[in-house]
Amino acid sequence: MIAVNTVYRPGFLSIEVNDGHLYGTPIDILRLSAPLILVALGMTLVIATGGIDLSVGSLCAISGAIACLHISTATDRNSPSTVLTALALAFGAALVLGAWNGLLVAVIGIQPIIATLILMVAGRGLAQLITEGQIITINSAPYRAIGLGHFLTLPLAIFIALAAALLVAAFTRRTALGLIVESVGGNAEASRLAGIRSGRVVFLVYVLSAACAAVAGFMITANVSSADGNAAGLWIELDAILAVVIGGTSLAGGRFSLGGTVLGALIIQTLTTTVYAMNISPQTSLLFKAVVVIAVCLIQSPAFRAKFRRRRSDRTPGPAAPQRKKEQVPA
């Protein structure tokens, strides 16, 4: 895809230094994919337990709305303490809502898709209630930095996303937590009998997912310095699920790949940016995206690859369904 872009427009890969930091389309892709990477990370773990979290988009809107509202009512919008309080408030609210999801799924035993659907619909309303149906515009330099700031000439947002990815990776791959999550996803009852507190693990992944969504919400609202209860994080849950699936995590649970998820999120953002950069008409851009996603999924499908391989070499039939190697976590 990057190759196609470069052929179409040689300037695609060019990066120049502008105003003391790097500037160019690849940088845009990195910066814009940061919220999606975060949401998709949380989603990966939820899906690994065999669940799904549809409420992340609404959570982005809520956390962004709370943070922006707090900053907009504060007297000194540029003081770091105001921004930190705003972030803490919004983050806390997101954790509570994540705990609510976890409660519904892990304790009460409602199907994840239904349990999180509640917050997906109601949360959007809640976000609009917080913003009173208006778009809150704020002018706060420290808050803007979350979405637009730079660190070592690269967007700060991508460092936040990568730090979160490494943190999650460290927790799940260096400790037994990852194994426990996979075992719960594989068979919750068997895990429980083996001495794992399945309920607690499931509860935790929903809280983590909400936390990731909250930070993504900060980035989305900081990027445009305004909170829009209606549009912030709209449909990001579906993009996140797509990123997770493209990354090779099974929707059935029991297996996950964090590196794959990060890659999946980058692919999706590259795709969106490509549509704009190549000026594909908006009427056909959705079809274009669908074709690319189908192609990516086909390339990943073991059955499809096996067939393709067999056709290429008639004499030496490939293995029926080659076991996909579990991707390594970037460390």
Partner: protein, 330 residues
């Protein structure tokens, strides 16, 4: 047996809650009774919901205008659902209001309930959005913005503004939500107007979904793909505001290096215009309350009204924005 009975009780309990909830919601209408004279007109109004700042301003304009005109207003919020709106209209018919007005949530499926209103002899006014009924006698008039005209006004200003330009003028366009009526119509009106000058060319056009984030993301790529953009035409203020951020980040000055023309005139947009970041806004006004009350009185008095009435709207340049800004209601 027992479990089944319990289940039935629970279902019955739920049904009761739903029913009473429904009744409560219906009774929750705002009555702006100002206790006028004997000839008190009663207007039943069903609003789409409160989905945007534009809509909130629309609602308060209608409530304020009704109070001022001594018209008794029965206000219903449909919360973006057609079935709520149909139920509200049936309620208005039963209460024998004098006039019914509503902003249809969707375009189709109104024939039955409009026929009921017609049979009951209650005139209906559509506001802001149209319906696609083949039978035009089902409603008296449609009061709302002309999106094509908004696009045309933007285009005409641009043609005037670039009159002295000798070379080609490169325009990029940020469209609204793909397929929505305002996006289609504004695009059409603008294209018609700029065809007057062959130098004006739209070199790129993408959907920014009417949002700031969308406008910003698309504009970032426009700027990188096309080194010399002269003009940006955005289908609403919010996308324009997002684009301003992208233009600034690219090291250019919005309003100077790139001329920005938008539609809507919401508060943040007007502020940007007054600050010199935008160059021109064609208004899409939600303040149709006074016009609506005029119509209600005329129709109640049996006067004939035109089948299509446009909202009174204007356009703003930077100087006009500075003047108008302190008194803007939305």
């Amino acid at each position: 047996m027992r479990t089944r009975r319990t289940a039935r009780t629970i279902i019955a309990a739920f049904a009761t809650v739903l029913l009473t909830g429904g009744v409560a919601a219906c009774g929750n209408s705002d009555t702006g009774d100002t206790g006028g004279g004997d000839d008190n007109i009663v207007l039943g109004f069903s609003q789409v919901g409160a989905e945007s700042g534009w809509r909130t301003a629309n609602t308060s304009s209608i409530k304020a205008a009704a109070a001022e005109a001594s018209i008794e207003l029965k206000f219903d919020d449909a919360q973006q659902k057609q079935e709520n709106q149909i139920r509200a209209i049936r309620n208005f018919i039963q209460q024998k209001v004098d006039v019914i007005a509503f902003s249809p949530v969707v375009e189709s499926g109104w024939d039955t309930v409009l026929k009921e209103a017609k049979d009951a002899g209650i005139p209906v006014i559509l506001t802001d959005r149209a319906v696609d009924s083949a039978d035009k006698t089902l409603y008296k008039t449609f009061l709302g913005s002309d999106f094509v005209k908004e696009g045309r006004l933007s285009g005409e200003w641009l043609v005037e503004h670039t009159r002295s330009a000798t070379g080609p003028v490169n325009i990029v366009e940020l469209q609204g939500t793909t397929g929505s009526a305002p996006a289609n119509d504004r695009k059409k009106g603008f294209a018609e107007a700029i065809s007057a000058n062959p130098n004006l060319k739209i070199i790129a056009s993408q959907s920014g979904d009417f949002t700031r984030a969308g406008g910003k993301q698309v504009m970032e790529q426009f700027l990188k793909a096309n080194p010399d953009i002269d003009v940006l035409f955005a289908h609403n203020d919010d996308m324009g505001l997002g684009a301003v951020e992208a233009i600034t980040a690219a090291g250019k000055t919005p309003g100077k290096d790139i001329v920005i023309v938008t539609i809507d005139a919401v508060k943040d947009g007007m502020q940007a215009l007054a600050d010199g970041k935008f160059n021109f806004i064609a208004e899409c006004s939600p303040l149709l309350g006074p016009q609506l009350m005029d119509l209600v009185k005329k129709i109640h008095a049996g006067e004939q009204v035109p089948a299509r009435i446009e909202t009174e709207e204007t356009t703003f340049t930077q100087e006009q924005a500075k003047e108008a800004l302190p008194n803007r209601k939305y």
